[in-house]
């Protein structure tokens, strides 16, 4: 019997080794391990053997069985892997066909940049404030040191609301800048103050590719003790560098706005040419960015803050312009067109 078992094992091994596919392996499994197989039958006969024989043949037959099972499993694993590989190799697949479409919407580019601006200033401890878009002449002009006959009113062509007049407030206007919120915020919160105000503003101005009646500005205001122009330079350089993701320098030059004194215009170093001069910066190396200055004592007084005790600066820049610069948009009117062909690009 012993020999018989050995023979079975060898025969099985040989057949398994030669086996080329899963189907014949299955047949081999049945042939050697099935109920009617020689090995099974042999094992059935164990009970007829003498105890001594049993001691030898019993374990041996189990050993043979286990050995064959293991061998079959290993071979099956190998054959299965071969089969999958064969199948994979024969499969055609076009990876260039389009991916499944997910219906994502789009956030308006103005909202996206506004968010970035708010985030950066917010990280520097500035609160984000709001104010009404329909504003009184008082807050839009007088409160900002721009009396009725001031030539500076020409700089800001104004839309007036019909038949609205108040003794205290004057006529009702569409705010021409976000600056009215300076006074409103000072009245509400007093000093010290660290705020920015992004918002929609209006100008009575003929429309073309670079002018629109409606655009967005960001106002900034920092009031404390000992706040200086040097700080304005520092904060704006920090802001612009973060916004553009590279180091940006800022430059001041004199500018005139009745609500600040000294008044300055702030330029930043051209990002395209690094101050060498190119068409974007009109060969000056600098890009005009915003008006700013130290808050005029009259404005602090309008807001109920004592100019002897507190000082600070304010600025206002065009968010719309920033968006147009960032994305190379050449027609401002696209921003308010509601055209999905435009909006879906963002």
């Amino acid at each position: 019997m012993q020999e018989n078992l050995k023979k079975i094992q060898n025969q099985a091994l040989q057949e398994i080794d030669q086996c080329k596919d899963l189907k014949s392996l299955q047949d081999i499994e049945v042939k050697y391990l099935g109920r009617k197989s020689e090995l099974t039958e042999l094992m059935h006969k164990l009970k007829d053997l003498s105890p001594e024989e049993k001691k030898v043949i019993g374990p041996l037959s189990n050993e043979v069985k286990t050995y064959i099972i293991k061998k079959i499993e290993t071979t099956r694993g190998a054959l299965e892997a071969q089969e999958i590989e064969k199948q994979l190799n024969s499969e055609l697949f076009d990876i260039t066909a389009p991916g499944t479409k997910y219906d994502l919407g789009h956030i308006h580019p103005l909202s996206q940049i506004q968010y970035e601006v708010e985030k950066i200033f917010s990280d520097m401890g500035f609160a984000v404030m709001d104010g009404p878009e329909v504003e009184s002449e008082y807050y839009n002009f007088e409160g900002l040191n721009i009396p009725g006959d001031h030539p500076a009113r020409d700089m800001q062509d104004t839309f007036f609301v019909k038949d609205k007049m108040s003794d205290r407030h004057g006529r009702l206007v569409l705010r021409t800048h976000t600056s009215p919120v300076q006074v409103r915020t000072m009245e509400k919160y007093g000093a010290p103050l660290r705020v920015i105000v992004p918002g929609r503003v209006f100008r009575y101005e003929a429309t073309d590719a670079s002018h629109d009646t409606t655009f967005y500005q960001v106002e900034g205001l920092l009031i404390d003790k000992n706040i200086s122009l040097a700080h304005l330079k520092g904060v704006m350089a920090e802001f612009l560098s973060r916004l553009f993701g590279k180091e940006v320098k800022v430059r001041f030059r004199p500018g005139y706005f009745p609500f600040v004194e000294p008044g300055i215009e702030l330029d930043f170093s051209c990002l395209i040419c690094n101050e060498k001069g190119c068409s974007v910066c009109k060969r000056t190396g600098w890009v005009e960015f915003m008006g700013a200055g130290m808050v005029h004592p009259n404005v602090l007084k309008s807001g109920g803050i004592d100019p002897k005790e507190y000082q600070g600066w304010a600025f206002g820049f065009g968010l719309t312009r920033l968006v147009m610069m960032r994305y190379g948009i050449d027609d401002i009117r696209l921003l308010q067109s509601g055209d999905l062909r435009f909006l879906q690009q963002f």
Partner: protein, 811 residues
Amino acid sequence: MKISLNWLRDFVEIPADTDPQQLAKLFTIHTAEVEGVESQGEAMNKIVVGQIQEIHPHPDADKLRVTKTSIGKETVQIVCGGSNLSEGMYVAVALPGSQVRWHGQGDLITLQETKIRGVESFGMICAGEEIGVDQPTGDPAIEGPNPILDLSALKPTPGTPLAQILGKDDTILTVDNKSLTHRPDLWGHYGIAREVAAITNKHFKAHKSEVTFPTTGTTPDVQVKEKKLCPRYMGVLIENIRIQPSPDWVKKRLHSAGYRSINNIVDATNYVMAEFGQPLHAFDSKKVNTGVIVRTAKKDEKITTLDGVERTLNKDTLVIADHEKPLAIAGIMGGANSEVDDQTTSILIEAANFQPSSIRKTSVKIGLRTEAVQRFEKSLDPHLAEQALHRVCEIILQVSPGATIAGPVTDVRNFKTKVNTITLDIKKLCSKIGKEIAPEEIARLLHTIQFGAEIKGKKIKVTVPTFRPLKDIEIEDDIVEEVARLHGYDNIEPKLPELPIKLPLENRERVQKHVLRRLMSLGLGFSEVYNYSFYSLKDIQKTLLPEELHEKIENFLSEDQTHLRVTLVTNMLKNVAHNLKNFDHFKIYEIGHTYQDLQEYFPIEEKKICGMIVKPKKEGTNVFYDAKGAVEAILGSLRIAGYEMRKGESLCTYAHPNKYSGYFLKKNGEELAKVFEVHPLVLKNFDLEKVSIGCFEINFTRLMQSADRSDMKYKPLPKFPGTTFDISVLVDTKTEVGTLQKAIATTDKQLIKTVELFDIYQGSNIPEGKKSLAFKVVIRADDRTLTEAEMKPVHEKIFASLKNLGGEIRA
């Protein structure tokens, strides 16, 4: 404003090797923005003097001629169409490579060597307008459509650059007028030169008049009735005037400053305005009856101004009049009735000062903004009138030989010379600039712009010169500006403020707005649009809105933008119409302000969110529910609590009357949102009949101010399994899903966890007037696994309650 570098040189040394670009940059950084620098010679690069040697007819063209023209070292062939050519004539030759303006129109083009009708032509013989040059003085006007510039009178040498013989050696700086709004002293070359001297560290050469006035003789009679409106009025009579063209040096200067030359007298007044910034006026004194009266106009008084327009004046308008008629609108424009003309032999020169705000108001009212207005409205120094009057007399005596000053100057002064002194706190100044600047340096800087500065301990006593008006320099901060700009803003090092770490004031609305955008766009798939705050009366009518709720724009720019929006819906419907050209399914939203006129001064201004789901009509049966789902997703994600939905209550003209619901706060009934399908009539009005639009409007202001937010609390996961069972019920079509859902849910509040509708069906197999609804119900106990025996009664109770509502259980 155009500033000539050569003119500046009368008052300040500008070395010949100065780079005008550098000077412009310096001026921009310290004083005011220079927008452009233009070298006159550069524009005439490669244009030289030529002399015509021979003229031959063109073989192929009647109107063209072929010339041999000497351009110095060589003689070249040039084809020319000018009718006034003659042999020996000196002309301007534009060589290949030069830039000319074809027939004086269009853009500059660069000349090339070319063939004209088969004949070679080396450059071009130019007409004056083609290269921007006037016919030199002394030559008779030449007839013809494109007269060739005749330089013969100048007897030039062929080959000489044209710029050189015309004396075009100047550089013109264009200064941005807006940046001079507060600086009346910079509205002429004299003031600009003063600044240039300060910023380049050069000596300023003040002008000293050499004119002397007789102590006796005829003097103008001046009565100033409005003393406040006219702080100073000076006048002088000049006789034996001969009106003629100005000499070249005057013309050249005026031309470089952008003025047209008219005649020697008018030019002299303009010359002084361009120099000192003081507007002057010359009246023909023979046309002035007796004397001058400065008064306000009589009601409906009329005057024809120099521009030929008849203007009706009102009682606020200040006029210069004689004893019978108005002669000029003070400080704005002269009248035709006293204009200097070719016959004029004696003139009255006016050098006056008028109140800025009155000039400005009148100018705005009559819609006339002149060079004079631009200067007077900025508070000119009354002392300047005197300086300018002396200067203009000096020039008139030169440009009108034989002219004599008839008598002493009349000077009516209604102002006081007050010395403006300001005490400057040095420490405060440094703290505002953000840099330590030594007191001596501060004083030195102030001296460069002719301010007095006397150091007194920690303060400096600053004396302001009269040419800087109170509107410009009034308080300490104005001095800070002078010091800062002269010291140089570039010399201020950027610094970050040392401020306490403090959380900024919270603005939840702002934060939520950005969160919402992400949800709307990146979650729910809507695209964000921005629209104008205005629309038209027609739009209001199309949306069926009442006009009286709207604020109207007084000075609207177009008929499309006359009213302020009370809803975002209107403009968004226009967006829908626009986008339907390219898309058939889309979702858009806008976050923006609306303004409602409730007859108070300020309108009710609120932030709204409006969303629209657009589908072709045949696929659009569910758009209401699409919008409803979106609103509920938004309210859910903001964790808004304590609201309920019911039929829409507030007037909403553009909503489909049956497909309209509102979301209300339970605590006070305030409406937070509306969900609706757009009214078919409104769709029709906007040409949107082919689509269905599901819409929602959320009152974001109210949502942020009034609504409570639910706390987020963790709930343990169920420990025991639940079972799901489906019920299909046949009900009357009138029966609402909400009623049935509520009925099911309330039969056993303990065990019934959720009730969801998963199918509505009407059609074949369903009787007329009925609909089949299918619900999925989850039943679960928190503390045990439910047995069949426990569940059965729950099922039966549900069946019973549905039957109660007229339902027929189908499965």
